[in-house]
Each structure stands twice: as structure tokens, then as C-alpha cells.
Assembly symmetry: C2
Homo-oligomer: 80 residues x 2
């Protein structure tokens, strides 16, 4: 089993209301000097693959087909 971490983040320029709400909440909690906050998703996946390269190819395929909306999101795959 090869372990990997996939991080999906919103592309630059895409509005992130959840991040904005967190910014506001941090301000209300007394954290001064908080700049932008952007929220994304992380997936820790275990795949059964012969080698890291084929695992990475499979994981990128998963991102394109299910895990990320490539119109508005970027993704990165890191093999652990």
C-alpha cells in the first residue's frame, strides 16, 4: 500500500466565502494581523500500486475524475 496526500485548493481569483468567514471569526476572537484565509481539502489515500509513479498517475486520475473540480480548483499529489 502506498500512502499519499492530495491537497485540493481553490484557484486564485475564485471567491472563497468560507475562508472570508474564518477571517472574520479570527478577527472577532482577537487575532489581529490576519491576512487572507483560504480553505481547501486534504485527502489521505492508500492505493495498491506497483511503484510510486503508477500510484501518482492513478491518484491524479482520481483528482481529475472525482476529488477536485478542475474548473475552480487546483490539486497536488504527494507520495508519502
Amino acid at each position: 500500500m502506498i500512502k499519499a496526500r492530495i491537497v485540493v485548493t481553490l484557484k486564485n481569483g475564485v471567491l472563497d466565502p468560507q475562508g472570508k468567514a474564518i477571517e472574520g471569526a479570527l478577527g472577532s476572537l482577537g487575532f489581529a494581523g490576519v491576512g487572507s484565509v483560504r480553505q481547501g481539502k486534504v485527502f489521505d489515500v492508500e492505493v495498491d500500486a506497483a511503484d510510486p509513479a503508477s500510484a501518482e498517475a492513478q491518484l491524479k486520475d482520481m483528482c481529475a475524475k472525482l476529488l477536485a473540480n478542475t474548473v475552480i480548483e487546483n490539486y497536488t499529489v504527494e507520495i508519502a
Copy 2:
């Protein structure tokens, strides 16, 4: 402005129905050999701090107070 990435993941042993649903969906899409999938959250935060150490302290405080539920979640802070 210091940029940081906060990753919040469920602790081991905490049930992750969202991850289980993704596992099932990947199987239905024809991805064989997918082991466990666990979903977490990622926050890209910019903070105004004098040095990386004070930024990290402030970010950990944010995690404890707002971004993570420390009963069921772990968090890591990486300064970029």
C-alpha cells in the same frame, strides 16, 4: 506577511463517513486497489508577525480556538 499552511485531519480511530463515501465512489468509478481514504481540511493563512516562531505560536492558538476540534482532530502548522 508570513504565509502558512494548516492541515487538520481526523484522529486515528475517529469514524470518517465522508472518507468512506469517497472510497465507495472511487470503487464505482473503476479504481481498484484503493485502501482507506480519510478527508481533512487545509487552511492557507497569511499572518502579520515579526518572525516565523511568533507566527507559528499564533497559528497554533488559532487551531486550538477555532480551526480544529482537538477532541477528534489533529493539526499541523507549516510555515511556508
